[in-house]
């Protein structure tokens, strides 16, 4: 009874295609439990190390070789801390709100394209579904703040919800301009249109969307700023501003509940870095070389190992870009001061939305004039390369 027989025997249980079910549950477990959560934890450590370097101090180096296991220590401490639910808090909603917040941020990791065929769920409405899950986060924060029956957490929760809700519009406009250029909603489709342009290839890529046209560059900045605001990161972390609102909507959370919200925030930062890399910075594409046509010629026995190495190469290129973006987010945290509420709302409604719409119009005109070609392709044609 070898494993193969056991597995093939499985798919007749109740007639459900069990291997497919196992595959999807396994991919969910791997991406969420082995990628999103540990990386979220590591980010807390990286953030403190980066902050230490900016302020010329050493940062955590007690736990583990250079403090690498710091976040394990934090995690265990959080779990062992007492978690009190105040007397007149809504017990049911108080326990149910963090699962909404985490469902929104961790659930969208299904759409992160690590490699050509390596993606949680290659939906045809990829990026649109990611924005839909983003709306669950604001609902979870609002319910969490409301149910803790505390003036400060309610005000902080309302401000956080108003901020996240109103910054979803510039985010949507930036994604719209990417869709105008790439023509498809599925994440793998958007990434595949960003390959390095090959001379008169039928469906060749037009290199990274950021360099597709000048309007899309500006919309990348708008996407990045709106993503910062969505994750409540400085300079938009007014809802948790320690000084004014006593730590905003998570005033009443203690113990592991607070740990979950902090983990949710970092999972959001990583998620938006991954999505920004996938739709703006060309996912796993590098300039000048196209991975899928790269034949490494690695053959062991009769199995061709090229696809395996290609996938590893693609995933590492993708994760390198994500790391750069996450570093920039941390970098911004220790350089920019915090915005007031009215500056925050003015920036969104009076500056980012109009600029986003103008750049969306610019993108459409560019696609119409140059028939969807990017700056690089047009320049190549002028220089006679393509």
């Amino acid at each position: 009874m070898s494993l193969a027989e056991f597995l093939s025997g499985l798919n007749s249980v109740f007639g459900i295609a069990l291997p497919m079910v196992l595959f999807s549950v396994l991919s969910a477990v791997i991406v969420i439990l082995l990628f999103a959560m540990p990386l979220g934890g590591m980010c807390t450590y990286f953030e403190r190390k980066v902050a230490a370097d900016f302020q010329e101090r050493i940062g955590p180096n007690r736990v583990g070789p250079i403090g690498l296991f710091q976040f394990f220590a934090d995690g265990i401490k959080m779990i062992l801390k007492e978690d009190t639910i105040t007397k007149n808090a809504d017990r049911f909603i108080f326990n149910f709100a963090p699962s909404l917040v985490l469902a929104g941020s961790l659930g969208a990791f299904a759409l992160v394209p690590f490699g050509k065929y390596v993606i949680g769920a290659d939906l045809d409405i990829g990026i649109f579904y990611a924005m839909a899950l983003g709306s669950l986060v604001s609902l979870g924060i609002l319910l969490g703040a409301w149910s803790s029956d505390n003036k400060w957490s309610l005000l902080g929760g309302m401000r956080a919800a108003a901020q996240i809700v109103s910054y979803e519009i510039p985010l949507g406009i930036a994604v719209l301009s990417v869709i105008t250029v790439s023509g498809t909603l599925s994440m793998q489709g958007i990434v595949s249109t960003q390959a390095w342009p090959v001379a008169n290839a039928v469906d060749g890529g037009h290199f990274w969307n950021v360099f597709h046209n000048p309007f899309l560059m500006i919309n990348f900045l708008i996407y990045f700023i709106a993503a910062l605001a969505e994750c409540n990161r400085t300079p938009f972390d007014l809802p948790e501003a320690e000084s004014e609102l006593v730590s905003g909507f998570n005033t009443e959370f203690s113990g592991m509940r607070f740990g979950l919200y902090a983990l949710g925030e970092f999972a959001d930062v990583i998620l938006f870095a991954c999505i920004a890399t996938a739709i703006f910075l060309g996912g796993w594409h590098l300039p000048f070389i196209n991975f899928d046509t790269l034949d490494l010629g690695l053959r062991v026995g009769d199995t061709d190992l090229t696809p395996l190495f290609q996938t590893i190469l693609m995933a590492s290129v993708f994760l390198a870009k994500v790391a750069v973006l996450v570093f920039v987010v941390m970098w911004i945290r220790w350089t920019l001061p915090r915005l007031r509420v009215d500056q925050l709302m003015d920036l969104c409604w009076k500056y980012m939305i109009p600029i986003g719409f103008v750049n969306l119009l610019g993108c459409a005109v560019w696609v119409w004039v140059f028939k969807g070609k990017s700056m690089i392709q047009v320049a190549g044609q002028l220089l006679g390369v393509y």
Binding site: M78, D83, S99, L176, M256, P354, V367
Partner: protein
Amino acid sequence: MLQQFGNALAFVILAAILPIAILTIAKFLRPSYPHAGKLMTYECGEVPKGSAYVMFNNRFYLVAICFLVFDVEVALLFPVMMLFRDSVNSGEGLVVFLLAFGFLFVLLAGLVYEWVKGDIDWVRDFMDRRKALLSEGQYKARLAQKGHS
């Protein structure tokens, strides 16, 4: 396509169950000595008075209303803008362009209206900043019209 939906659903279900699982695991591991002091809502050490649900600034509702309308606009533009590149290649790009941006500019008029009327100013009676734009006479007239001293 249903298989991809199944994968996405597996992600969402796992992500929703995770916090509940972690919290129940943590419930057994952690100490729990609730006494009156801990169970009071935190109010910088004071005894909390009054309910937490005070009536507050209705700027939140104007933001919620504006968000709803512009979110609908973005959601409606998604399928149309997705078609735009193919329609340009197949020759009818102008029609899609005019329809999409006609829709967009009608709603942008709403944003301009609110901007001019000062509805999306977060601080009510934002007249002092507006004063810089108006001449002295216009500002006095504006104040008189609003019935201020």
